[in-house]
């Protein structure tokens, strides 16, 4: 293995895309993800690819649509308000069954919000965002290395199922630096005989569209999409469970919050409180059965989020309201571990499991 490189999250995403064989990027500057653009504006021409700074996120996502139609491995990145503008395009990409990777370096919202770390786009991406019956695969890395690994994985899933995949980061992960290893191999190329590349040796034209005027056609189309989504749910769920087997208090957190929560769980264990951490890595498909399992011993569940509480709804659905689920949350910052630890301690006393 080669030497590790110290990299900022945003640059890591950009380099991971290149390592994954992505040569086309279309984006629009927005804090706190602009380094992704800046890095690729420099690097993609060196790699024989194309970078365009679009006139808006609306344009950027449609350039992604076009490049994906043309059979390219393609990515865009933005931050919350920009991702909102891309929702229309995401719905079209999902319906047209195009592979594309989207990165959301989340910032505080609603509205212009702030430029601080946030996890408030969970509903937007996990539950829909764009119009219509579609699903977006959402990956939630928690370190700079995982930003890299999950960007590569995102391309693999996107191409395997011909579907858009989103990678969640946040303002802190975009800016923080950690030592990383870049992947050595890019995902294997897939069959792209469906792409609109000009007919060349084909007799029949390839058509990529999202219009199904006869009701039957639309129903069949949605059924086909959802057969694919069910397959993704079966095959692609990812999570980690840390000290959950005997956990009285189960903390559920994803992304950067799962790192802080893990430290809080360690503090609790040192003090004799049996705490555990369940971390969903795929937010859709949500690892609900694994979470149900991980909560089997729990007397209480705390979800820790940098939002007013969004994932908590999926957590409640997953554990079927067997035990109370409460929210620990902060807005505009990543809390320190002791804040979550205090919440664990308080809960442990309430349910009388504290040491």
């Amino acid at each position: 293995m080669s030497e590790p490189i110290l990299m900022k999250g945003n640059e890591a995403v950009a380099e991971a895309a290149i390592a994954a064989g992505c040569r086309y990027f279309f984006g629009y500057p927005i804090t706190p993800q602009s380094e992704v653009l800046e890095h690729l504006a420099r690097r993609l021409p060196e790699e024989g690819g194309a970078y365009i700074q679009a006139e808006s996120e609306v344009s950027a996502i449609n350039m992604v649509f076009g490049a994906a139609c043309a059979g390219a491995r393609v990515m865009t990145a933005s931050s919350s308000p920009g991702i909102s503008l891309m929702q229309e395009g995401i719905s079209y990409i999902a319906s047209a069954q195009l592979p594309a990777v989207l990165v959301n370096i989340m910032r505080g919202s609603p509205g212009l919000g702030g430029i601080h770390p946030s996890q408030a786009d969970y509903f937007q991406s996990v539950k829909g965002g764009g119009h219509g019956d579609y699903k977006l695969v959402v990956l939630a890395p928690s370190s700079v290395q995982e930003l890299i690994d999950h960007t590569v994985l995102a391309f693999e899933i996107a191409e395997k199922y011909r579907t858009p995949v989103m990678v969640f980061g946040d303002a802190m992960m975009g800016q923080m630096m950690e030592p990383v290893f870049l992947p050595e191999a890019e995902p294997a190329p897939i069959d792209r005989s469906w792409a609109t590349t000009g007919m060349k040796n084909r007799e029949k034209p390839n058509i990529i569209h999202t219009l199904y005027l006869p009701a039957d056609d639309l129903e069949n189309h949605c059924q086909r999409l959802f057969a694919k989504y069910r397959e993704i749910q079966r095959q692609e769920q990812l999570h980690t469970a840390y000290l959950t087997d005997d956990a009285d208090i189960l903390v559920v957190a994803y992304g950067i919050m799962s790192r802080v929560a893990r430290a809080a769980v360690e503090m609790a264990r040192e003090d004799g409180i049996k705490a555990g951490l369940f971390r969903p890595i795929t937010l859709w498909p949500f690892p609900d059965q694994a979470l149900f399992q991980a909560a089997s011993h729990a007397q209480a569940v705390i979800t820790a989020e940098i939002s007013m509480g969004q994932m908590i709804e999926d957590v409640r659905l997953a554990i079927k309201d067997k035990v109370p689920v409460e929210l620990f949350n902060r807005i505009g910052l990543v809390p320190n571990p002791d804040e979550i630890y205090e919440a664990i301690k308080k809960k442990a006393q309430e349910v009388k499991v504290s040491a």
């Binding site: 110290l6 800016q175 923080m176 630096m177 950690e178 802080v260 893990r262 809390p335 320190n336 002791d338």
Partner: protein, 191 residues
Amino acid sequence: MKREFLLAGFGGQGVLSMGLFLAYAGMGEGKKVAYVPSYGAEMRGGTANCLVTISDREISSPLVSDPGVVVVMNHPSLLKFEPVVRSGGILLINSSLAHRDTKRQDIESYSIPTQELANQAGFSRGSNMIMLGALLEATGVVDVTETYNYLVKTFNGRHLDKMPQNMAAIQVGREFMREYRQQSEASIAYA
């Protein structure tokens, strides 16, 4: 062994590059590191601080509420971050811009006139490296020679033109801190 460093000052003082240097130094010894910058609203001239963690094990949280080592490069940073130093930890104060010593009794604290030292060293923009030298001496977190070799290898020719100046400033900072500690030990011995 896990150590957290909070470095704070105003934008343009080189606080972030001090943190980066520290992170690279940790990597040079094969340790796990995390570097979290936090910017003010302004890109230049605003407040700047960063948190660096160097650890033998996987770093779970890159954030802590009570870092063991805190560097304050100006007075507002002293006021803001003096209270967060972990009890028994180290506070390094840039006395060129902070107007008092620490009021806390439960920590080790050193006041370093970084600007004056930088001027004497003929590298007036090097106060951050003076402070870094003092920090390395006070904490012994890394082997400085190893760091130098690692950086030369990592940067692969880039940014290396300023390395001799930076290393000289770091050396001045280290020597100042060494004498500072000898004197304080001596004065403790007298008392």
